[in-house]
């Protein structure tokens, strides 16, 4: 079997098997995991430049469809499937309501998206991925909310797809082909002649990508959906599925790199606009994130904030911008996966997603706690973990263009990410342990293996970023740009400086050892329980003070709300909801036509006829 085809066929077969055997939960999960693994094995068979074409007799034409492996697609494939393996492995031990056959359908769609050479296949896979994920979200824990979340996502997603559909046909009617390659090069060709026209078409595509990645102002579905999706699926949703939009952007971004468009600060203005979309997304995501009390919503906002970083970086479409964006996409996949997997591990143990009801879990789940800690350290961009390099490169890429406002916004988002990460860290893991959770246990052995693996990956790719940067450089090369210089696996090279991550790692390790040594040498400490705490002299037991009453995590950043209140008044969510409501209102009114009274129907029919006769026969 052709390996390219196998990447599509294997998941579909696995999906069918999982659907048939879905009654036996463990078997289904095992099939899901094995299918991901087998798909991954097929990845070793393929290499850049592999191509597979076939013909589809449709629309009265003999349409050529195909799959092709580019540096970008192979990077994406490795990234997403490997993450899928980790997630499905973790899910072997979880009792979440994730439906394996839908996940495998999503995998097939995902592989197709990354490999498709034609718009038909791309759109087919895009929609397939769309509906399988929508159905998946229906399996959330809270019925009403998960249905609402899924429908919200469905509306935005389908709206975006239709926008892309129109774009596809506007394009193919011009060029007479569905091939992505020829369409993009055609657009590049006529960009100088009809810039507005090209931008119009491209923005039809971009709407779909923005919806999928949750870019401002199409981000509103993200918290609703991530917050309610089944726990086992959320990591996939936020780590992998948000990258489809990034991939889409990368298909069309080379267009505007030509010099035919007016530029701002050496940047074609469509790129400039996209960059601002990205920056605003990053800020909005961060700000909204630190006001959440629901942990899944918090990290949903966090996720789309990071997508803002990625978009801002790739919108630059310079070597360093592209490298930084792709690198951040990879890092985001990694740390977001680690964070979400640990978060769902906690959720499955404590049975709530409200952070104000958690606290002190670190005593019960130490490994999960450590993984989460390294995850948020990476998310905050702290060296030497994965996440630092990419953020640092993004800032360099931005500032080297003199984009000071956008850079400061991004930096603000980056600092604000500390706020929401610390909030989650504190409210979930630190602080007082409620007696409710006295019986909480650490994750199972499978979970531990997953967590150790993620922990290792976060450190490994943090100190040896070259393993990611090398493939990214070949992506940059394939876009016709000159890749950044490389000087070894441990180096991150930028404009302003290059950093040796291993040396930082060693320094940090040495100082840590020194710190522990000092800690051990000086005066001894004694361990006390958490109830023995400063209470201004009050004895907690006398006041029936429970640990949860002594945990401050609700409305953690309340003073900030005052300052940001004017910005929060802009409710895009409300716009979409209001739109939906008015459609429903109109529907309510229109429904009244069908009263159930046959006389009315007769009048309608006769009235219609009379109008036709007058309008058509007499007036027309």
């Amino acid at each position: 079997m052709n390996s390219l085809l196998a990447l599509l066929i294997v998941p579909v077969i696995g999906s069918a098997a999982a659907a048939v055997l879905q009654r036996y939960r463990l078997v289904e999960r095992l099939i899901t995991f094995l299918t991901f693994s087998v798909t991954f094995l097929f990845l070793f068979e393929i290499k850049i430049g592999d191509i597979l074409t076939w013909h589809l007799d449709f629309l009265g034409k003999n349409l050529e469809m195909g799959l092709q492996i580019t540096p970008l697609s192979i990077f994406m494939l490795y990234m997403t499937i490997a993450f899928g393996i980790v997630l499905t492995f973790y899910n072997l031990s979880e009792r979440s309501k994730m439906k394996g056959f839908l996940l495998l359908l999503t995998l097939a769609a995902s592989n197709w998206i990354f490999m498709s050479t034609d718009l038909i296949g791309f759109f087919f896979a895009w929609e397939l991925m769309g509906w399988s994920s929508i159905l998946m979200i229906f399996g959330g824990k809270r019925e009403e909310e998960s249905r609402h979340g899924a429908l919200y996502y469905a509306m935005m997603s389908i709206g975006g797809s239709y926008s892309m559909l129109i774009g596809i046909f506007l394009l193919s009617n011009l060029t007479g082909t569905f091939s992505i390659q020829s369409n993009v090069s055609y657009l590049t060709l006529i960009l100088g002649l009809h810039p507005w026209w090209v931008l119009g078409i491209v923005s039809l595509f971009f709407v779909a990508f923005m919806v999928k990645s949750g870019i401002f102002p199409f981000h509103t579905w993200v918290p609703h959906t991530y917050g309610e999706a089944p726990d086992g699926f959320v990591p996939y949703l936020s780590s992998v599925m948000s990258k489809y939009g990034v991939y889409g952007f990368l298909i069309f971004l080379p267009l505007t790199s030509g010099a035919h468009v007016p530029s701002v600060l050496g940047l074609a203005w469509p790129n400039y606009v996209l960059l601002w979309f990205g920056s605003v997304t990053a800020v909005a995501g961060s700000v909204l994130a630190f006001m959440q009390d629901d942990v899944k919503k918090l990290f949903a906002y966090s996720s789309f904030s990071n997508l803002g970083f990625i978009l801002a970086a790739i919108a630059l479409f310079t070597p360093i911008g592209l490298t930084a964006g792709m690198f951040h996409a990879f890092n985001h996949l990694l740390f977001n996966g680690a964070i979400f997997i640990t978060v769902i591990a906690v959720i499955s143990k404590v049975g709530t997603t409200r952070m104000s009801e958690m606290g002190g879990i670190w005593q019960k789940m130490p490994l999960t706690f450590l993984t989460f800690f390294v995850g948020i350290a990476a998310a905050a961009g702290i060296p030497p973990f994965a996440g630092f390099g990419s953020k640092w490169m993004i800032f360099q890429a931005m500032i080297s263009h003199g984009l000071i406002f956008a850079t400061v916004l991004l930096f603000f988002a980056s600092i604000a990410s500390f706020l929401y990460l610390m909030r989650a860290f504190h409210a979930i893991f630190l602080g007082q342990l409620s007696h409710k959770y006295d019986n909480v246990k650490e994750v199972s052995a499978i979970g531990k293996i997953t967590e150790v693996f993620l922990l290792g990956a976060l450190i490994f790719f943090g100190i040896l970023p070259g393993f990611v940067l090398d493939p990214i450089n070949s992506i940059v090369n394939s876009f016709g740009l000159k890749p950044l210089p490389t000087s070894g696996y441990e180096y991150i090279n930028g404009f302003f400086s290059s950093i040796n991550m291993v040396s930082i790692f060693i320094v940090v390790i040495v100082t840590f050892i020194f710190g522990f040594a000092l800690f051990a040498v000086v005066a001894k400490h004694k361990k006390v329980p958490q109830e023995d705490n400063y209470t201004a002299g009050q004895i907690p037991q006398d006041w029936n003070l429970t640990p949860e009453m002594y945990q401050f995590s609700y409305d953690f950043y309340e003073p900030m709300d005052k300052e940001l209140a004017p910005f929060l008044k802009v409710k895009i969510d409300g716009f979409f909801k209001g739109f939906g409501e008015s459609v429903e209102y109109i529907g309510e009114a229109i429904k009244e036509i069908f009263t159930g009274n046959v006389q009315i129907y007769t009048y309608l029919a006769v009235g219609g006829l009379v109008i036709f006769v007058i309008a058509g026969w007499v007036v027309w």
Partner: protein, 181 residues
């Protein structure tokens, strides 16, 4: 080893952080002690906010039974080495509350007091004098009230129970209380 202890004691005496448990009218004497006129910071004595950080527990007045409980709790939350200063007559003999039904008369029946400052009120000079005296005692290795508390915990506990009408130790785990540092 004794040289090391001496050095440690010397620095401990030069850096004493104080937690003032202001129960009665004595608190009014502390602001002048801290501020420009008498400036206790020149002896390295600084007010602290929590028992975890403090070395000195300064009790500035009468102790109702209700407050006694909190004082014991706070004292036990402090870490060795720690010292108690009883401030004013009330901590010595109950002062004007000597016959009150719910005020204790002698503080050192409940927690070990290193130095009493007599007077009603003691002037800031007296407070500073006590601080200096305590410093000297610490540097000489004489102020060992906290060790006395551990050694004679049963006696202190019995006295505490008598007035507090309760049997369990304030900090629950008895072995934690009876262990120094």
């Amino acid at each position: 080893m004794s040289e090391w202890t001496e050095i440690v004691d010397y620095f401990r005496g030069r850096s004493m952080w104080m937690l003032h448990y202001c129960t009665g009218c004595g608190a009014i004497e502390l602001p002048p002690t801290m501020t420009s006129r008498w400036d206790m910071e020149r002896f390295g004595i600084t007010p602290m906010a929590t028992p975890r950080q403090a070395d000195i527990l300064l009790i500035t007045g009468y102790l109702a039974i209700k407050t006694l409980k909190r004082v014991i709790y706070t004292y036990e939350q402090m870490q060795a080495p720690k010292w108690v200063l009883g401030f004013g007559s009330c901590t010595i003999n109950g002062g004007i509350y000597w016959d009150s039904y719910n005020v204790i008369e002698r503080l050192d029946k409940y927690i070990p007091v290193d130095i009493y400052i007599a007077g009603c009120m003691p002037r800031p000079e007296a407070i500073l004098d006590a601080f200096v005296k305590l410093k000297e005692m610490v540097q000489m290795g004489e102020a060992k009230g906290y060790e006395k508390y551990v050694k004679n915990y049963d006696w202190y506990k019995a006295n505490q129970d008598k007035v507090l009408k309760r049997t369990s130790p304030v900090l629950k785990e008895i072995e934690k209380v009876t262990k120094i540092g």
